[in-house]
């Protein structure tokens, strides 16, 4: 829905969110599916196009804004959350999105990301995790598995990767989710819930880079064989997955999670998912079920809690100041403090 400039309201379609720019990703890149999902979802938002802004950094993922017929800025490497924070604080009326890659968001931009989440600035951050630097042609990223052989690490990388969900939870994020580029239904559902949440929404999207890291997520992404490994988290429901939902997740007394045969342990022992738990201990434990996706992987919303939104508090302080002292009077302000007259 949007106004057409003449005050009339028009129902928008996916097409309305396609910009006139030619899409420049490699054929077969997972980014195409993401773009299609987001563009298709947009009309549902019910927000006029002109009130939507996409901000990005640099990387293949970061080309995203160019393809969205909304306002957008393709910023500099890693700084999108900071640019978007300023935008959101200036204009809380806008619907703000950040699109970033694993390198952009977690390597050079790691600090802005964790601070945005801590502040709880109202924006939706889509992080396309392909566990590689795509645009610069295939160096390992902070999510690449230890020992990864890439252009910059011909003998294997020596550093242990981040788990983006753990990091987000450790950084106080109020909304944390994970989905897959090619799972449109699930992705759309996550987007729906994200936009309904006020604050920073961090969404990790497993994205296949078929050129430099093809198949990194096959264990869970493969439309056929991967299904078994998808642990779809559903709020307030016992965590089950696999063929006929035959597998489940339980928690030991020491806060370790285990994957079990539901029949063996009985449904009653299964961990019941709760997105809204104030303390993110369980969400964190869930995030540790998998690091790099080689087996069962939780997908969905790990955490969704209400917390004051940074720019709302900023607005409140302004409103209060105006209420207390009236709107600013420049002449009065200049005269504040001790003055004297010369005649």
């Amino acid at each position: 829905m949007t106004s057409n400039g003449n005050g009339q309201v028009i129902q928008l379609t996916k097409k309305d969110f396609e910009s006139d720019q030619q899409v420049r990703w490699c054929p077969g890149c997972g980014d195409y599916a993401i773009l299609a999902t987001v563009q298709s979802f947009m009309p549902e938002l019910g927000i006029p196009r002109e009130n939507i802004v996409f901000i990005s950094g640099i990387g293949c993922a970061a080309r995203f804004p160019y393809y969205m017929e909304t306002y957008g800025m393709h910023g500099i490497h890693g700084r999108a959350p900071a640019i978007a924070s300023g935008l959101a604080v200036a204009r809380p009326d806008l619907n703000v999105w950040v699109v970033s890659g694993d390198g952009d968001a977690l390597s050079i931009g790691g600090n802005h990301l964790i601070h945005a989440m801590r502040r709880n600035v109202n924006m939706t951050i889509l992080m396309f995790n392909n566990q590689i630097y795509g645009l610069t042609k295939g160096q390992y990223s902070p999510t690449s598995e230890l020992g990864k052989v890439t252009k910059s690490t011909p003998f294997g990388s020596a550093d242990y990767p981040f788990n983006p969900i753990s990091l987000a939870l450790g950084a106080e994020a109020s909304f944390v989710a994970r989905t897959i580029d090619n799972d449109r239904a699930h992705f759309t559902e996550i987007l729906r819930k994200a936009v309904a949440h006020k604050g920073t929404k961090f969404i990790e999207v497993y994205q296949n880079c078929n050129i430099f890291n093809d198949g990194a997520f096959d264990a869970v992404r493969d439309p056929r064989s991967g299904r078994e490994n998808r642990i779809y988290l559903e709020d307030k429901k016992p965590i089950r997955f696999g063929k006929d939902e035959s597998k489940g997740v339980i928690m030991d007394s020491d806060a370790q999670l285990k994957i079990v045969d539901v029949e063996e342990v009985g449904e009653a022992r299964l961990l019941v998912h709760d997105e809204n738990a104030v303390i993110p201990g369980r969400a964190f434990a869930l995030s540790r079920l998998s690091h790099s996706p080689t087996g069962p992987v939780p997908l969905g919303i790990f955490r969704s809690v209400e917390r004051p939104v940074y720019e709302d508090l900023v607005e409140q302080q302004i409103a209060q100041a105006k209420e207390r002292g009236g709107p600013g009077d420049l002449a009065k302000l200049l005269r504040q403090g001790e003055t004297w007259e010369v005649s």
Partner: protein, 619 residues
């Protein structure tokens, strides 16, 4: 004994004591009382980098110098006539500056063996004859303060001694016939929450006055008549305060919301602190995680249609480089305030320097020109910020404003402007509202005159568009790797900034004789010392001209003409010759520099001497 009152035309006082002695507050209060009296004045605070260095140490000494007069003055004074030293360390680090025969007031209670040792005095200077050249007043400030506070309950002796700076303030207020109402009111305000403390400070202040008036230690006091300033309402203002007010004014006069994003750094933090108080104006301030984020947030705010501002000092400017480059490329307004301090690297964070001019000019990769302004006095910071906002809005460009530690913390009387007389910034820009090219919206279709691109802000239906740091097509703004287009865009970006020279005042030259052969060209905070040195030269019948730059990039359109009009051009700077490089390159004049990089402004005398040397004037 009736005391005599002596009239003098100017005085330079320096208060010096431990960081914990409240010297900055004492100086501030004295300054305000002096300002209210209508003297012209200039101040120079000088404090250590340590928050509260261990008591009595040499590096923990904090000073505040004030120059006031019955006439127009330009600098905080080269050397004090009056030095107030609260302890041996303060005496040791400051006595060499006191003018021969000058007045020295010391807190004699502080000259015990331990304190003398801490100050690395082998002998007690109060008794070893080393102070013979001065008029020394030994005042037992501790005893006198405690005496005055006798009977106040609820305060420890240590608490009570905290008021001794107010005793000193009282004494000096008497000595220089300063009004006392303001200070009394201020004490009551400041300590309103703890009545005993307020009472203690008040009593100490009054005891100081009484001590001067009644004891026989002091035989006379001084008056300094008000200066002949322009009629109007005045207040005393520091550079950082002026910047803050300038930002509020820019918001009011442009009708735009102002968003300032910063990260604390000395000596810039106060701008963030002060501005954060002005929420009534709808101004938003953000303390970000670092300087990169704060530049980025300010740019985000500008994209959103606000006036985005970021404030920092040298090390922070380094970090903002890449983001300023993005702002150059996306052509959005952005005001970057750089309060320079002594470098390189961490340098001397509380000390002044003009070291960032070339960094502001060239400190980005690629060809990324920006506009640069420099304030020339504390009060000028107000005007320069308004000018920065005007240029940023009109030309959709980053504007870097250079101030420095000297301006930031120094103060001078400021004649309050009439709000209506301030520049109307609403005429500097308008938001795009519709298509600008055959029914389409082209975000990089430029205004023919200013070469600025349209500013279309989110929320405007039909103008949805994308911008970014990749080279874009002249006009449509689409990504373009076309070689010719890149060349053209590079030229256009340069021309846009160069074109500002048509939109700024021509450079005025102060050349009263009209026949000077030497021009002193300067910029920024050297204004006061340079103008003062020129006056001194003229008093010695040496003709000399002074031109002072506030627009550093582009230069005023007549600068070349001005430079070529003199036989000799001298450029004094608190750096190694940065403006010098620029004018030599641009105008091929064999200008020569006078360079002081000592964390302190020029003294009028040393500058006069250096100018004389350059002009080959025998002394």
């Amino acid at each position: 004994m009736a005391k005599t009152v002596q009239e003098v035309d100017q005085v330079v006082i320096r208060f010096a004591g431990d960081s914990g002695d409240g010297m900055q507050v004492t100086g501030d209060r004295f300054t305000n009382a002096t300002a209210v009296l209508g003297n012209d004045l200039a101040t120079l605070p000088d404090f250590p980098a340590e928050i509260r260095a261990p008591a009595g140490t040499l590096f923990g000494v904090s000073g505040f110098q004030l120059h006031f007069a019955d006439h127009d003055i330009l600098t905080p004074g080269d050397a004090p006539n009056v030095l107030v030293a609260m302890n041996p360390a303060a005496l040791k680090t400051n006595i060499s500056d006191l003018l021969p025969g000058g007045t020295l007031i010391v807190n004699s209670d502080a000259f015990d063996d331990r304190s003398l040792a801490k100050a690395e005095y082998a002998n007690n200077p109060l008794t070893d004859g080393s102070l013979a050249g001065y008029e020394v007043y030994e005042v037992p400030l501790n005893k006198l303060t405690l005496g005055a506070l006798e009977g106040i309950t609820g305060l420890t002796q240590k608490d009570m001694l905290r008021s001794k700076n107010m005793f000193a303030l009282g004494l000096l207020s008497w000595m220089f016939s300063r009004p006392t109402d303001g200070s009394e009111g201020w004490i009551r305000d400041k300590f309103g929450k703890s009545p005993e403390v307020a009472e203690a400070n008040l009593r100490a202040f009054r005891a100081g006055i009484a001590f001067g008036e009644t004891t026989e230690v002091f035989t006379h006091s001084f008056v300094i008549k008000p200066a002949q300033l322009d009629p109007g309402t005045y207040r005393n203002i520091t550079g950082n305060q002026a910047i803050t007010l300038g930002l509020v004014a820019a918001s009011v006069r442009s009708g735009l919301q102002l968003v300032l994003a910063g990260y604390p750094i000395t000596p810039a933090s106060d701008v963030l602190h002060e501005l954060a108080r002005h929420k009534q104006f709808g101004i938003k301030t953000m303390q970000c995680e670092d300087e990169i984020a704060s530049a980025a947030a300010a740019l985000g705010a500008s994209f959103a249609g606000s006036l985005g501002v970021t404030v920092t000092s040298g090390p922070g400017l380094d970090l903002k480089s890449e983001t300023i480059g993005l702002a150059v490329s996306v052509e959005l307004p952005l005001v970057v305030l750089d309060i320079q301090r002594a470098g390189p690297s961490t340098g001397m964070p509380t000390k002044t320097e003009q070291g960032d001019l070339l960094h502001a000019m060239f400190g980005r990769h690629g060809e990324a020109p920006v506009a640069i302004l420099a304030a020339s006095s504390p009060a000028d910071c107000f005007d320069i910020v308004l000018e920065a906002a005007r240029l940023a809005l009109k030309y959709r460009t980053p504007v870097i404003v250079l101030s420095d530690a000297f301006l930031a913390t120094g103060s001078e009387p400021w004649k309050l402007p009439d709000v209506e007389s301030l520049p109307d910034l609403t005429t500097a820009f308008e938001f795009a509202t519709g298509p600008n090219h055959e029914g389409e919206f082209w975000p990089f279709l430029r205004d023919e005159e200013t070469l600025a691109r349209p500013w279309a802000i989110p929320g405007t239906p039909g103008l949805e568009h994308r911008i970014g740091g990749i080279e874009k097509h002249d006009g449509t703004g689409d990504i373009s790797y076309d070689p010719e287009n890149h060349h053209r865009m590079t030229l256009l970006r340069a021309q846009k900034i160069a074109g500002i020279s048509k939109d700024i005042p021509r450079l005025e030259v102060d050349d009263p004789s009209g026949s000077a052969e030497t021009l002193v060209l300067a910029w920024g905070s050297t204004f006061g010392p340079v103008r003062a040195a020129c006056k001194r030269l003229r008093n010695n019948n040496v003709n000399v001209a002074h031109a002072h730059l506030r627009h550093m990039n582009p230069f005023p359109s007549n600068l070349g003409e001005v430079l070529h009009g003199y036989k000799r051009v001298i450029v004094p700077e608190n750096n190694m010759g940065q403006l010098l490089k620029l004018v030599r390159a641009e105008f091929l004049v064999d200008a020569q520099g006078i360079n002081k990089v000592a964390g302190a402004p020029f003294k009028a005398a040393e500058l006069t001497q250096a100018l004389e040397a350059h002009m080959e004037i025998p002394r």
